[in-house]
Symmetry: C5
Subunit: 305 residues, 5 copies
């Protein structure tokens, strides 16, 4: 995710990093090429009775803009929901730790054990969503006595949740936690299950494929034909106007495609690494630990993963 | 549901499977025919004082695009809600099994019995929504002692839910589960009832019929008349532009119709088979079973049912 | 509600029932008349310097389409919320019966008494929303010992809810239901109160009157003036294009008006009768009754009330 | 709020009351004046090289329509949320009374005392939102023993809520209500707090002022310049078309402004008086009182406050 | 936040404060300059075959308006959610205090201690979101015995929440509060955690940077090129129309950017200072304190921070 300090409006016009421009620069060049073909070919092919006018392109352009608005809404809703789920992960883990710390009979090393399981849950969820290897982080974060239950399990995230549940049931069976307090804490474990399920849903079920296909095609065909429709009116100004319109449509289409899968590491994806560190900082500070992990900072291109 | 590996943007332009193109190819051919009639008939019928211009078609085209945007929103919302409900089914069944496994007095074979009832619930819901025969899966999944209660019942999904409730009440009456823990688990049974009711609602109540009818008609009439409006300006380019605009409108209308009923097996429907297997894998892995069912893979056309 | 078997796309174009066409056929005839006046009057009134052009009508037409999209959104949201509330009614009554049936001390005739109260609630809600006489159904459904409390009460739906609450309190006071189980069931009674209040809200508070008034007026004025704006360009084709555009606008306006009040018996209203029977079928099947009421079928015009 | 019996579509076109027409009639007259200036001034100022054309006004008109759609959405959402909150008030007070009435130890005069506090809550909320004097209604509704706690308090609504809470705690401390039943009832008191906070939020935080300012300005400037853009094409028809377009834009802008503050007494505001009486009728009927207050009826202009 | 008394519609047209006009006045001047260049340069550069027409600008203008509508929706949703969270903060703190005050064994100075912690929570949240120094307010509001736990903590807001939890657990362990009542109050502490997490999410995760970048660029390029497209038709009227259109687009873009970060102190940001004082007034009034803090009033420019 691009995290930029505030820019002057003028400088922002020429910002390179953080836009999707790098993805579409080749396609914009194609559009420039088409414009030049239109300008130089126009005198010849117009004599053949082949000509396009602006009017039908206005109709199709506005229609595509409406459908692109719908597509961006759908993609942005997925991005926002993903961010909400990770926000809820932070909230729920803080609530769980807060509840555990308020129980009288629970010793400090038990609280640290529980904290380790919570951190293992968030890190393993991150690796699950990004399809990166999880073992190293699990070994670092898991309390020793839970290593065997989780490390070689086919679904570690789900298994860590089961360990949290087992830990809690042990406290209840040992009499530290009454049934009612168990109920309040168990509700937050259900919340973790909801977060895991929600993230899985976003990661595994894309927007219906036909939507991205239809819009991809119509946007590309529209941008390809546009110079031929503009050239009769605009002559030498065709490349400028055609590339301007194409930039608007291509970049929004590319961005919608990027936001559709918010768990990657591209400039407009969610900074899961930073969110995991933030959760760890907060939980460790609640436990009174003095040496908190440093919050992640954006790299030289203002990108935070 | 079409599940595609990431495609290069250029290849995606010519993707055949996974679009709704197969549904509308006949109607696009009709549009081509109309364009040819317009081109060859124009010199004759224009002498009769019959001519159409682009301007009013621009007005009606943009209006239809706005209403089509509304229709797509409504259909997509149904698709998304259906996916949420199945996501919640996974979440709720995981939470239920997690809660049951954390109770001290419950034996392993009782956990397996409960797991069987949970799996029978999700499979029977799938069959109910797709109107496919449910008996084989019920016999495979149901624990033996619950066969008689469910197998010949007129509403097996609802009945499995009642069995889960009865199983739980037996544990409570046997003293394994206190009233408070029963309450926490019972809340998740209510959640299953909500999922069943939500899926039924989507399956049985379509978008008001007049919406699909009005849009179906206006889109078709618009595409039919369009070549006659374009021909005066575009002559030989009429088929290209007319088919381009028609493709945009017809394909989005066809897709909206497909998404309206998300429980089928068409390329843009939900992969209920795969979701059922995923739930089974997760629950069995929680029970520590070693031989998990293989996750379903898309077929040669990237379709996952 | 119109419930149609799937139609071939071609047949659907000429479907008469199920559209709002019957409501607007007179207004479309007026539009045809205006078109003829425009065609025959044009040579005369254009010499007086009176003429309209397409351009400003394009502006106003697109604006009206945007506002009509907003109006349809608002009406459709009411329809959807009403359907959700009735879906929740089914879900909640099923959950209530499931909970009651899982209590050990409750006898079968008590379960039937409770079921009767639940059915009386849904039927009396239907009559309340449709303003139809409720007494016959109440007498048929209510258990005998609750007749006196409900039958002559000024607000029978609210009173049945109070009876359910009293029944539940009796079981609690008799010791069959612990306070905690009472709490779980009572939450579902609160849910019934929410459903009753939500339906009342939709039935009693329309969309602000000025919205329907402003859009009604602008749509009608637009359709009336449209032929005079089109005639200069389209001559003999004026009636075709004018009626096409008018059909789109008038039918969507009429449909928005119909959906605004979803509890009636028109073709795009909710099938409350069928929903009540469905609930009854489900509850009776849960009680193991063999003779279930037949589900309602659409009439010859595919209309289900 | 305007509550109209169903009107014939033709009569509705000329309805005067219930529209926002009275608010904008002066501004429409200004528009007529501008049209006349445009018609008579056109021959003179066009010789100076000053002329406007329809094309850029089409662009700006459609853009304003889009932004006006956004503004109406935002205002309507506030209206709807306000209505939901008052619906929830009815639902919650009914649930509270239902719960209290199901407790065995509570005497009838205690139920009436509690009902009085509930009614005082809804009436004082109404006065708070409309900034009308609350003392008379509080004295009428409050049970005698709660007069001193509420009557001279700076925030009576919040104080009545505290009294309900105190009443409930007294019953708990006297042993009539167990902790668990207290919990169920207390949740509904939290709900009352949510309703009070939600209404306060709508009443105190308007839509960001710049939105209404920007749209107000652009709509007015657009309508003022419009006749000068239309006159070259439409000549004598300028006033008709200009006033038609202006009516659409000005009335929707005025309506959005009215709906933004839904707690007033204008024709499109919520009928809080009637809602308060409805709640009182329902609660009193639940208590078996025979003489219910009459429901409020709309006045001669169909306005219900 | 601008809080204005109601203005006459005419005066509102010329309101200076409260609009975003001050932010864009320089850019509007640039637009005026461009218009003058277009007017005086037109005779010269049009002879070079360089000319722009309105038609493609109409297409791109409407498209940008649609995307700007989307952007405003996204920003406004953040503003609204932020306001909801602060509304919930008020609601939750009132509910917490109400619940504590209804416990018999809790003494008045304990209630005051709890109130102090609640107020410290809201004030420290405000400072956290505005990145202003928190120590002075913490020292003023925190009860003495909690100073050491919070004052030098790296995350004071989260720590105050932990203190509230500890205070509550102490009451439970001392026997004043049963487990069930603890559960009801603990749920509201979870709510505080949710509010804190939600505000953090809005403050730390902006709308994907590419959205603001793409729209910023297209709006600016559009406004820069617009005069050259208008000049052929409008000549001397170019500056008026060009600045009118630019004002609409630039101001809405600037406002969307302002609303995206609703926790600042600009005219369209949330008045967190005033909200904190309101909460304090309400809680202190509930405790029966006589000298309530004065509610904050807008400054001379109607701005409330």
């Amino acid at each position: 995710m691009i995290v930029r300090p505030h820019q002057h409006w003028f400088i922002r016009l020429f910002d390179w990093h953080g836009s999707v421009l790098s993805n579409i620069v080749f396609r914009l060049s194609l559009n420039l090429l088409m414009s030049l073909i239109a300008i130089f070919g126009y005198p010849w092919y117009s004599t053949l009775g082949i000509h396009l006018t602006t009017a039908p392109f206005s109709l199709v352009g506005v229609s595509i803009a409406i459908f692109l608005g719908f597509r961006n809404n759908a993609s942005y809703a997925r991005f926002i929901e993903a961010r909400h789920l990770w926000g809820n992960l932070h909230i729920t883990e803080r609530s769980l730790l807060r509840q555990i710390k308020s129980i009288r009979g629970i010793r400090e090393e038990q609280v640290r054990e529980f904290t380790g399981l919570l951190l293992a849950f968030s890190w393993s969820l991150k690796h699950r969503l990004r399809k990166t290897p999880v073992q190293a982080d699990l070994q670092r974060l898991l309390p020793d006595n839970w290593h065997s239950a989780v490390l070689n399990h086919p679904m570690p995230t789900s298994q860590v949740l089961l360990c949290l549940s087992t830990w809690l049931a042990q406290r209840r069976d040992e009499g530290d936690i009454s049934d009612i307090i168990w109920q309040s804490i168990d509700e937050n474990l259900n919340q973790l299950s909801t977060i895991l399920g929600g993230c899985d849903r976003i990661a595994n079920t894309p927007i219906p494929f036909a939507y991205s296909l239809i819009l991809h095609r119509t946007v590309y065909l529209f941008c390809t034909l546009l110079p031929f429709a503009l050239v009769a009116d605009l002559h030498l100004m065709t490349p400028l106007v055609s590339m301007f319109i194409s930039y608007t449509f291509l970049s929004l289409e590319a961005l919608a495609e990027e936001l559709e899968h918010p768990f990657g590491t591209a400039p407009n994806h969610l900074p899961l690494d930073a969110l995991c560190v933030n959760i760890a900082r907060d939980l460790k500070a609640m436990n009174g630990e003095r040496s908190l992990p440093e919050p992640l900072e954006p790299d030289a291109h203002f990108n935070l993963t």
